[in-house]
């Protein structure tokens, strides 16, 4: 088990190098850099000052050299400083000579996106699993049919459209929910519970809407898993022993049907992180997605590279965790009856 874990962790190194290579060269495919967006509208900026700026950011060197410099800093986990936002550190906070701490951009944005995604995942699972079980038990009857219809619509509906309509309906026509940002203006004056409530109200729509569209996948996955399992011999045996329907469904069938769900969740990570762009820009939530969108628009290379690298590293880590969780949850793998991979 330990050697398996070590092997997987070592594997991540060449993977990350590959990812960073692809990201880095794509970024330099395009003409133009930060100097063309930052000074394009400034009549005072001369070609000479742009050259100076390029030299300052090493943008005048060949791509290979730039990649080398970037890689060298990566070894120390130094993601550099943002070009656009007043030299804020990209990844983690830094102290300057006077002891002032500047928080890192990813450090601020990542917890927000993680919180939203984890909350969303919990909602999806707590609705999707029971719905999937119900559809499987009533296969071919009206619950199954209506859940299938719902699934198809869930897969096909554009998330940003649903967000826009619900935001207008629940935020403007019936102003139950705030429609942008994470906190109210008077957030600092609130006590602990009110702060929690304020955060909840602000994050409700941006968390619930994407989980509604994600629900379709989980429900269908659980339903199909249950259908497969319910046809197995050991379920017939359990029924023949006279066990109650509840016990057969939840103790014997569901636990086996849920196993592949772990892998599915691991695989859906990059989609979740990437999908945060639209929800966060619509609802003005300062998470990774919005940060990335703004960085891309400003051609802020260090921030773009930082987010791509951290996002991919998180994905790799998530997949590893999913595999470990699978091995832990499946006694056949845990006790080494079947080889792990």
């Amino acid at each position: 088990m330990l050697s398996y874990l070590l092997r997987r962790l070592l594997w991540m190194v060449p993977m990350l190098i590959g990812i960073s290579l692809i990201s880095f060269f794509i970024m330099h495919l395009a003409p133009g850099d930060i100097t063309s967006t930052e000074s394009a509208f400034d009549p005072k900026s001369s070609e000479e000052s742009r050259q100076k700026l390029r030299a300052l950011y090493n943008l005048d060197k060949p791509i290979i050299v730039q990649y080398g410099l970037w890689m060298e800093r990566m070894v120390h986990l130094d993601f550099g400083h943002s070009f656009a936002s007043h030299q804020k550190p990209v990844f983690w906070s830094e102290k300057d000579k006077d002891g002032n701490v500047t928080p890192g951009m990813i450090q601020e944005a990542l917890p927000i996106t993680l919180l939203m995604n984890i909350a969303g995942l919990l909602i999806t699972l707590s609705l999707g699993v029971p719905l999937g079980v119900w559809a499987a038990k009533r296969y071919g009857q009206w619950p199954d049919r209506s859940i299938t219809l719902f699934n198809f619509i869930g897969f096909s509906i554009p998330g940003f459209w649903l967000s826009l309509l619900l935001m207008y309906w629940l935020g403007v026509i019936h102003p139950w929910f705030p429609i942008s940002g994470m906190h109210s203006l008077n957030y600092e004056q609130l006590d602990f519970w009110q702060k929690g409530q304020d955060l909840f109200m602000h994050l409700f729509l941006p968390v619930v809407i994407p989980s509604l569209t994600g629900l379709a996948g989980i429900t269908l996955f659980v339903k199909n898993g249950m259908l497969d399992v319910l046809n197995q011999d050991y379920i017939t045996t359990a029924r023949a022993k006279g066990l109650s329907d509840r016990r057969v469904t939840y103790r014997h069938a569901l636990r086996n049907a849920l196993l592949p769900l772990i892998t599915l969740i691991g695989l859906s990570l990059p989609g979740l992180i990437g999908g945060s762009v639209i929800a966060e820009t619509i609802f003005a939530i300062p998470g990774m997605g919005k940060l990335f969108y703004e960085a891309v628009m400003m051609r802020d290379f260090p921030v773009v590279m930082g987010i791509l690298t951290i996002g991919s590293a998180l994905t790799l880590l998530g997949n590893l965790l999913a595999d470990l969780a699978y091995a832990w949850a499946d006694p056949r793998l845990r006790k080494g009856v079947m080889p792990a991979r």
Partner: protein
């Protein structure tokens, strides 16, 4: 073919897609106005007999813009999936046929591409290359070939073990002939399903990009950017937000239904969506 028409999912999907395709193809004859014709005297008119879907903030007829926008959205879906399928089939075929280091190299590339949050990658590339229809199609194509590669490779791994392949090798057929004439036609059925489902997600992706202002650029209309323009006016002009979203929903639903129906027909054993 007969089986497809007897499958209710596939049939519904096929009908929806045919209607949308027909409307898009016949746009020049069906559109009552020029889609780009600005009319300042008729701004934000509600749907009526003259303007079936109302007019937008510049007085352009929304129904006409929807018809022409449909052409763009459908084209992007088809071309993007065409590109990704071509890459996927090619890489999958050589990986599955030659195995060894070629296979390892290609499959590691697949792993890497799957670990990068693809929407981030697409966003970055399009923003840096300057947004346009062509770039959107190419970039969506270049970032969504991985599942086809895996499918085709798996098919090739088992096909190359079969007698007819051994036979043609023994008869001295060249590699490319075995790959393209013997194995490929036998491995295309699962690819067809993933092509149809791929179009669905490409249409969604394009509309999402246009919504962020990185897809099809004004004045050319696509469903995504009609919606983006419309969101400014959502309080006074619901029709600008509702119709384009519905059009996207119906199109994507059509392709998803058809894809699932095809899967049922070709592979009755599995019943998974994606």
């Amino acid at each position: 073919m007969k089986k497809i028409l007897h499958n209710p999912l596939a049939l519904t999907g096929l009908c929806l897609i045919s209607i949308i395709l027909l409307l898009a193809l016949l746009a020049p004859w069906l559109a009552p106005y020029d889609p780009d014709d600005i009319n300042v005297k008729q701004i934000l008119l509600a749907p009526s007999m003259h303007h079936w879907m109302g007019t937008d903030g510049l007085g352009r007829d929304v129904w006409s813009r929807m018809l022409y926008g449909g052409r763009v959205s459908l084209l992007v879906g088809l071309v993007a999936v065409g590109i990704s399928t071509a890459i996927g089939v090619f890489l999958g075929a050589i990986a599955g046929y030659y195995r060894g280091w070629v296979d390892t190299l290609i499959m590691r590339l697949v792993d890497i591409m799957l670990s990068i949050p693809s929407f981030f990658l697409i966003l970055a590339v399009i923003a840096f290359l300057s947004p346009s229809i062509t770039n959107v199609m190419i970039v969506i194509g270049l970032t969504s070939w991985m599942s086809v590669t895996r499918l085709v490779r798996a098919e090739f791994l088992s096909l190359t073990q079969r007698e007819f392949v051994t036979a043609s090798t023994a008869l001295g057929a060249q590699d490319w002939r075995i790959i393209f004439r013997h194995c490929l036609p036998n491995s295309l059925t699962p690819v067809l399903v993933s092509v149809v489902l791929g179009i669905a997600s490409a249409v969604l992706l394009e509309s999402g990009l246009s919504f962020l202002g990185l897809g099809v650029q004004a004045p050319q209309s696509s469903w995504g950017n009609i919606l983006t323009d419309g969101k400014e006016y959502i309080q006074f002009a619901w029709w600008l937000s509702v119709y384009p979203g519905l059009a996207i929903l119906i199109t994507v639903l059509g392709y998803n239904l058809l894809g699932e129906g095809l899967r049922d027909v070709f592979d009755p054993r599995s019943n998974t969506l994606r």
